[in-house]
């Protein structure tokens, strides 16, 4: 049996939603970074699925997904460095305690 495209999209949408809720609701900065990763991977699934189903002869979606992974890796590197700095300053990674960028 052939799995239809819409299944992939549903999985991707669920993953994206989970990531989004994580970003908006969790207080731990590291968890938020993980959630961002989940959202990126949801996008990757979409890219690969569309590529496979719509233009099977080209692998442009797959290539794009690889780039997203590389960028996600570097983003995590920067993000974790920031989190580390925050931890050094306030001995916590709870982002509700870092609300100094305001009026």
């Amino acid at each position: 049996m052939v799995i239809p495209l819409s299944w992939y999209l549903i999985v991707s949408a669920i993953l994206f939603g989970i990531g989004l809720i994580g970003v908006l609701l969790r207080q731990n900065a590291v968890t938020i970074l993980f959630s961002v990763e989940i959202m990126l991977n949801a996008a990757n699934i979409n890219l690969v699925a569309f590529s496979r189903y719509i233009t099977p002869s080209a692998i442009s979606g797959q290539m794009f997904a690889l780039f997203v992974m590389a960028i996600a890796a570097s983003e995590v590197a920067v993000g974790l460095a920031i989190v580390l700095t925050i931890y050094r300053n306030i001995q916590s990674v709870d982002i509700d305690k870092i609300n100094i960028f305001k009026w």
Binding site: L20, V23, L24, I95, D96, I98, I100, F101, K102, W103
Partner: protein, 614 residues
Amino acid sequence: MLAYYLSLIVLVPILSFIILVIFGKRWGDKSAYVSIAAVLISLGLSIKALIDVLGGLNTKVLFTWASIGNFHITFGLLLDSLSAMMLVVVALVSALVQIFSIGYMHGDKRYGWFYACLSMFTASMLLLVFAPNYVQMYVAWEGVGVFSYLLIGFWFEKRSASQAAKKAFMVTRVGDLGFAIALILLYINAGTLDMDKLFAMHFVPALAATISILMFFGAIGKSAQFPLHVWLPDAMEGPTPVSALIHAATMVAAGVYLVARSYPLFEKGPVSLEFVAIIGTITAFMAATIALTATDIKKVLAYSTISQLGYMMMGLGVGAFAAGAFHLFTHAFFKALLFLGAGSVIHAVHSQEIFEMGGLWKKMKITSITFIIGGLALAGVPPFAGFWSKDEIILGAYTSGHTAIFWIGILTALFTAFYTFRLIFVVFFGQPRADHHGGHVHESPAVMSIPLLILGFFALTAGLLGSPFVHNAFQGFIAPGHEAEAVNPFVMGLSIAVALIGITAAWLKYGTQVLPSNVISKNNPIYKLVANKYYMDEFYYYVLIIPTHAVARFILEFDQKVIDGIVNGVAKIIAVFGSGMRRLQTGYVQNYALFMLVGLIILIIWSFRFLGIH
């Protein structure tokens, strides 16, 4: 070859200016030698130019300065008898004043800058003298104005000096406005500003008179004629050698030079010459009366300068062209001498108040003798320089039928003799009046006394060049067309008589105790009028300065209330907006993420609804 050495006359002082602006601070006292060497080169070349002119040379060297389409501005060097005479006077007086300043300015902290200014002033003045067209003349005219401003305000730490400099600059600017309008009118009507072309043209007398009178306004400002004379007495705040060079011998004579140079234009509208004569007469008389009551040695000389400039204008106005130019020539020497003598006195006693001096004759022989020579020349005693030229002017007024001007001229000569010898008797004779300088007064050093001796020599002899003994050689040289008047025994006798009466009266009043010291009450209304300089400064204060301040204050109010109000209002509205909007900035990163999400959703919905993306 000719063009070379003529341009060097102007270029060498400019070069000295540039050198001194760069190195003046480092070289300090040595700066003087650069400037003096430059002016001596100019003097040598000027004398060569004068000799060439005496040999019959009469030339014009032209360079193109700027071309705009068909419009060419030329820059040139005009050499004729009038300019050659002025070149030598300017360079000679400048050289002597600069040598004198070595002693007078000794130890001043801006020594280099002083000489730089003197150099550039000399260059501007020489350029003015050389001008063959009015554009160059105007440029040089403003140039001497700028350096006069800088030198009056040389000791700008003193508030009175910086204010005097501003006053001089602004008052002369009023006259320059007239000059500028005259040049615009000339260009509109004649299409050129070259003097020789203009003088050959035909003008309607009314137009020529209008232009000439407007041009004369420039001369009124620069030569301190009534009613714009108020800046010159204040200009005495500058160093005394500057007063001698700029405010007695050369720059103030620029106005007279302008009228003399433009004489053919004035002759095309004869009304303008009457105007010149009347202004000159008023100036001569008024300034002489003020000088009678002034008690500051430099102020007396300043008013006497104004008065003598009035004589020159009177001479030019009544048609005695050569006599006016002759008086310009002799006055430059004896007035520079008197000012340098005053500088020598001030250097010795550190005061300018004549009633704090006295008895200097015994202590300063050279200064006293040369000052008295200058005084005799100013008072118009034969055979000193001032006599011949002043007598020529008064004679010119007499023969041309200006009876009122003639008698006022005679009366002014009487006052001149009186105030000059009042000064001499009070300063050099009698007993020292203040003790604080009693023991220390001594003759000035040689760098100061030698220029006095040289100028004294000229004050004694320069007049003889134009005297009847040599058949009025000077007048024949300057103005071959204008025949010198024959000697008139009545005029000459009267002129000598009033000079002697004036000197005797001064002697009776100040040299002896014959006349009581309160012969004129200090409460006499006429005395008060004169001692307060005819209330001219007060007049300007109430008529011009106060209304100007009122207008300025109103505009300030308008600017602060209305213009600034609009600007501040706009800023305030934005501030109000901002203080509301800034509450969105909570500092919680997740709030921002939520806003982004909400914004994104709104964008998506909007694009589906309104852009029709399906």
